[in-house]
């Protein structure tokens, strides 16, 4: 019997509860906001494509024990529109064993899409993706980080270690950290590396249409590029704006001294935390300038560091701006039957930002667990990540 079938609207309640059990060990009885979000992301998105459904694994007598979300997207490869299946929220009940995840992945890869893609694969799902014949896009899996306030950044790392004693110590040291960072910014060697806008102007909150036009123009030079129409792009921006895990979404256009557009950025900023770049783009000889404006504004708004997914063409500029590179924790993974398409990704000839995968979705936000379980949560439903990562497998 085939245990994998298409995800339908009637399954949403079961899948939302599975998600809460797997990622939050919660047996909450109500999950209405989460159900609404599943509906919005997997059924009411603007790319709805009957041929690229999300998948569930169902067992007789036990209901749905596995899920693999698919967000259909459109991209353009070598001038041709292609179908993309963005994989998201792979999860399997711990009691279901090793077979559901394997079946779900095989079914996904057998689909009619030109490209299957995810930017949220943890170690386990990355191994699963590879075992199924998929690739890891090494370049796009790298993350760049620029420290903006070194002492406060160190404090944020201590705080992030968890435990009340770390938080207490970090909070107690906060005034001292602020003072030391201020001192470093004025007198230390770090003062030479403070980001500066120079002769550029930052225009906050540009119209969606303007951002869309810039993104289209800049991505046009790549073999693989987003294929969203304006309405889809706007929907995506709205959903990304709802994500609060990393703070508020800032959007800006950067203008040169003559008022010409040099580039743009979309970035989440939260005071005292590392800002997270959702997307940034710049004209070929203006990358450094746009980057400087981005760093400057993030620092001005209280970010202690700033991070983003590597855009391979900007590597030199990022390095020149004293950014460090490291493994992001979640890999960007891809699968295609077209070797040319994969080749474009591996060569960095793709405009793939966090807006093209599933990173923008707010599944990892806090607040989904509304009611605490009565009694113990099921021990078998184990997420192997400390933070709720999008993909989880046994």
């Amino acid at each position: 019997m085939d245990s994998v079938r298409e995800f339908c609207r009637d399954d949403i309640c079961q899948v939302a509860h599975l998600w809460l059990r797997v990622f939050h060990r919660s047996a909450a009885r109500t999950a209405k906001p989460l159900e609404d979000y599943f509906r919005q992301i997997f059924f009411d998105n603007p790319w709805a494509d009957e041929g690229l459904p999300s998948l569930v694994y169902e067992e007789p007598g036990r209901g749905i024990t596995g899920f693999l979300g698919v967000i259909p997207r459109r991209m353009v490869f070598n001038g041709r529109r292609i179908r993309v299946a963005v994989a998201s929220q792979l999860m399997v009940d711990g009691r279901a064993g090793a077979y559901p995840a394997a079946q779900l992945m095989r079914r996904l890869f057998a689909g009619p899409q030109d490209l299957a893609f995810s930017d949220g694969a943890n170690d386990f799902s990355e191994r699963l993706w590879r075992a199924c014949g998929g690739d890891v896009a090494m370049l796009y899996s790298l993350q760049w980080t620029r420290i903006l306030r070194p002492i406060l950044y160190a404090r944020s790392l201590v705080r992030a270690r968890g435990g009340w004693h770390y938080a207490l110590a970090a909070d107690a040291l906060s005034p001292v950290c602020h003072a030391l960072d201020a001192l470093l910014a004025r007198t230390g060697p770090g003062s030479r590396w403070l980001p500066d806008c120079g002769d550029c102007t930052i225009v906050d909150d540009p119209a969606d249409q303007g951002l869309y036009a810039q993104m289209r123009e800049l991505a046009a030079g790549r073999r693989l590029q987003p294929g969203d129409d304006f309405e889809s792009f706007r929907w995506l921006l709205r959903r990304a704006g709802e994500k609060k895990m990393y703070g508020d979404l800032r959007r800006a256009m950067v203008l040169g001294p003559g008022g010409e557009v040099l580039g743009w950025y979309l970035c989440y900023v939260k005071r005292g935390a590392a800002a997270q770049v959702l997307q940034f783009g710049a004209r070929p000889r203006a990358v450094q300038k746009v980057l400087n404006c981005l760093l400057y504004r993030a620092r001005q708004e209280g970010a202690v560091a700033i991070s983003g997914e590597l855009e391979p063409r900007y590597t030199r500029d990022l390095a020149a701006s004293r950014c460090d590179f490291g493994w992001a924790g979640c890999a960007v993974v891809a699968h295609s039957r077209d070797p040319e398409l994969l080749n474009a990704i591996h060569r960095g000839d793709a405009f793939v930002s966090r807006l093209e995968g599933e990173w923008w979705a707010r599944f990892s936000d806090r607040g989904w667990v509304q009611a605490e379980p009565e009694g113990e949560a099921p021990a078998e439903a184990v997420s192997r990540s400390e933070a709720p990562l999008p993909i989880n497998i046994p």
Binding site: M1, D2, V4, V92, G97, A98, Y99, P100, A101, A102, Q103, M105, R106, R107, A110, F124, R127, L128, R130, A131, C132, G133, I393, P394
Partner: protein, 90 residues
């Protein structure tokens, strides 16, 4: 064939360590294979024996012990009509 399957399992999932695995032991219950292991095992038997495993055949009943694997392979070959379980040339 069973020895060949055992060798693959030992080499790939147990790093060559002898495990005392019997032909009927569940690979999953023994903690030898997880989801990734299932896919690696399927790729191995598809490439080695020239068969195609359907999604609907990806079940513990077919793959979860050496005996079940051997039985599954024999049924697949019989159904294909080739009548041979000789490993495919690399």
């Amino acid at each position: 064939m069973k020895e060949q399957l055992r060798k693959f399992i030992t080499d790939n999932f147990l790093f060559g360590r002898p495990s005392g695995l019997s032909d009927d032991d569940s690979l999953q219950d023994a903690g030898i294979i997880d989801s990734t292991g299932v896919l690696e095992l399927v790729t191995y038997i598809e490439e080695t024996y020239g068969i195609q495993v359907l999604d609907s055949e990806l079940l513990p009943e077919n793959l979860d012990s050496i005996n079940r694997l051997a039985g599954f392979l024999e049924r697949k070959v019989a159904a294909s009509g080739t009548g041979s379980l000789a490993p495919q040339p690399a």
